[in-house]
């Protein structure tokens, strides 16, 4: 067959390359901003994490410059169960948020596509919680799940919970709170991916003998992966360091403390600045490792 005439014709996609000096100047404010607000505190954090107690002044909160790597070993040895718990809670919250957000985003981005008014309304409902401080909303959950509150009473009347049961302060409540607070961060990026999904590709899938489940797994999911990856990172990273949901003032107790609570405690109450700084850096590094693995597995760096 004579396809020869244009079989050699291949489109080479040329990346436009601009080497303009104006672009570098435009970059300057961003670079200055990052240097001032990110790099400087980071350096200060590293320096603080290596300090030792001031031997000339025994007041609490007095430290001198040093190079005490031992601070890291000390906080890991002391707080490793809490660090582990933080990652566990955060991972579970991320999974639950994904399980709830994906169908939600699919419904808004695909099912409601033919009803633009309903779609806009549903999107507003997802964003609506942001109109109120998340502290207030989290406190509201505390009241709803309080020992004398309606939920516990109802569950007790059905004999699902024993008489002395309580939910506030349990790991369940902390994971619940994290999931609840991060659902919009998970749902919106996924929605953005699914909203652009070309439905003709799903028709092509069904035309090529793929049943709806197979089409979903092989076409819809891969094409919405960039949204899933961004949503997962936007949830997992801040949730691991979160200290509001797990704090005893909100949904947690001392038994549910996460690494954020420990950092806050060591800093404000114990005024042990080197330990707080060392914990912060450990947290940062520990988050970077799974994120790097996750990104290399999903191979979507270029899509982020």
């Amino acid at each position: 067959m004579a396809f020869g005439a244009f079989s050699g014709e291949t489109v080479v996609i040329e990346q436009p390359r601009r080497r303009s000096r104006a672009a570098l100047w435009l970059l300057l404010p961003g670079v200055v901003y990052l240097a001032a607000t990110y790099l400087a505190p980071l350096v200060s954090l590293v320096v603080t994490s290596l300090k030792t107690p001031d031997l000339t002044n025994f007041d609490i909160g007095r430290y001198q410059y040093a190079f005490e790597i031992g601070n890291y070993g000390h906080v890991i040895a002391t707080y490793w169960p809490i660090i582990l718990r933080s990652f566990g809670y955060s991972a579970l919250a991320t999974i639950f948020a994904l399980l709830i957000s994906y169908p939600l985003a699919y419904f808004i981005g695909v099912t409601l596509r033919t009803y633009p008014l309903w779609q806009a309304l549903a999107l507003i409902l997802v964003i609506a919680p942001f109109f109120m401080s998340f502290l207030l909303r989290t406190l509201a959950w505390k009241a709803i799940f309080a020992d004398e509150g309606p939920v516990i009473h109802f569950l007790q009347s059905l004999n699902i919970l024993p008489a002395n049961a309580h939910l506030n302060g349990t790991p369940f409540m902390v994971i619940f709170g994290l999931t609840y607070n991060f659902i919009p961060f998970m749902a919106l990026p996924i929605y953005t991916s699914l909203e652009r999904l070309d439905l003709r590709l799903l028709e092509a899938g069904s035309d090529l003998y793929a049943n709806p489940g197979s089409t979903f797994l092989r076409v819809t999911v891969p094409l919405s992966l960039p949204g899933v990856v961004s949503g997962t990172l936007l949830t997992f990273i801040p949730a691991t360091g979160d200290y509001v949901n797990a704090s005893p003032q909100f949904l947690g107790s001392t038994q549910t403390a996460m690494v954020g609570n420990v950092i806050s405690d060591t800093y404000f109450n114990l005024q042990d600045y080197p330990s707080a700084a060392a914990l912060s850096i450990i947290l940062m590094v520990l988050i970077l490792i799974p994120v790097a693995i996750y990104l290399s597995v999903t191979k979507t760096e270029d899509l982020l």
């Binding site: 067959m1 004579a2 070309d198 899938g205 090529l208």
Partner: protein, 377 residues
């Protein structure tokens, strides 16, 4: 693709198909049989229901009433993925996240047929794109994407291959080339092709049988030459090429022909080429069948003469020249004359007569009311 044939084409039968969408009826009681192994074209303007027909066959829409049979088996209530049918979509709908090879292997893998990648390579060799198997669709040109879409469909050896204006996005030269290649692929693989298009030239070049569709109904169906030489309705006469149409009363009806009076001139049409033999009828003749004369011809039997008229426009198009002749009381008559000599034969403003052999005329089925309807299209 030797040794890969399991289903090599099946009959398609549409029985009394009606498809209603909220507010309008896309297809009205459509009956159609496409024999196995044929290249069938559904031709019509946009909005005539041809794409809906295709989607009904693919299972992407379900009919309001009627049955769809493929190879004698009723598939009306089955899902798209259960039908032995593949589509080459107008948008190609290639999976952007997969390589060309994975795209082509997709259907084979889903059916659990062994060696999907081997078969995909074979199909890509058929469309001469095997060397690009590792590329993503976005890295290919429009013509290459079109061929990947074709390979992705034919690799499955469907009983019926549906083509939804697959050449629409290509430029003219590439389109002509793809038309010939699609046709030869069809000869090679022997599948039943159902091709939907609004391009009459494309339909006539490629298909064995063309069905002209208008307003959800098939106006006329037949071999391309048959449709062109003997259109039965004004819509077909005008949609498939150009026609000169004249409407007038039948003044006499002989044994072999009818005489129609148009603005005082009597024109003869063979009876077997006329759909109606009495009343007011519309008759027509193709522009290239007309001869342009600068002197009044001597009346002869077997020849129709119209004139005199005045040439109002001459446009040269290389192979032929198109003349527009204003005939008093008749309207504008279009004449295509082959350029056998240099330059136009007559100039603007010349007084001319046109003549044609009686056998070239045709009589349409439309009554006047119907004609108005088709003019409104």
């Amino acid at each position: 693709m030797a040794g890969a044939s399991d289903d090599s084409g099946a009959d398609l039968e549409l029985v009394g198909i009606t498809k209603q969408f909220p507010g309008f009826t896309a297809i009205e009681n459509l009956n159609l049989t496409i024999p196995a192994g044929s290249f069938f074209a559904l031709l019509g303007p946009s909005g005539c229901g041809k794409t809906t027909t295709l989607r009904l066959v693919a299972g992407l829409e379900s009919p309001t009433s009627g049955r769809i049979l493929i190879g004698g088996k009723d598939v009306t209530d089955t899902k798209p993925h259960q039908r032995p049918v593949n589509t080459v979509f107008q948008s190609y709908a290639l999976f952007p996240h997969m390589t060309v090879l994975r795209n082509v292997a997709f259907g084979v893998s889903r059916r659990g047929i062994p060696d999907p990648l081997g078969r995909a390579h074979e199909a890509l060799r058929l469309v001469e794109l095997d060397h690009l198997a590792g590329r993503r669709p976005a890295q290919l040109s429009g013509g290459q994407q079109q061929r990947v879409a074709l390979a992705r469909a034919i690799v499955n050896r469907p009983a019926l291959l549906l083509l939804d204006e697959p050449l629409g996005a290509l430029d003219l030269k590439l389109r002509r080339q793809m038309q010939l290649e699609l046709k030869s692929i069809q000869d090679e693989v022997g599948l039943t092709f159902l091709h939907v298009t609004h391009d009459q030239e494309e339909a006539m070049t490629m298909a064995d049988t063309v069905a002209v569709m208008n307003r959800g109904e098939i106006e006329q169906m037949g071999a391309p030459e048959e449709l062109y030489e003997l259109p039965k309705t004004a819509f077909v006469a005008n949609f498939l090429g150009q026609s000169n149409l004249f409407t007038g009363p039948v003044v006499s009806s002989g044994e072999n022909s009818i005489i129609v009076e148009i603005a005082g001139t009597k024109l003869e049409v063979p009876k077997e080429r006329a759909q109606r033999h009495s009343g007011t009828v519309t008759i027509g003749v193709r522009p290239e069948k007309l001869t342009l004369l600068t002197t009044r011809p001597v009346a002869a039997s077997g020849v129709n003469v119209l004139g005199p008229g005045v040439v109002t426009d001459v446009s040269f198009s290389g192979v032929s020249t198109q003349y527009l002749v204003e005939m008093p009381g008749v309207g504008t008559v279009t004449v295509f004359a082959q350029n056998m000599v240099f330059g136009p034969v007559v100039n603007r403003g010349s007084e001319v007569w046109v003549s044609w052999t009686v056998e070239h005329g045709f009589g349409l089925a439309d009554d006047e009311r119907l004609e108005e309807r088709s003019e409104a299209v």
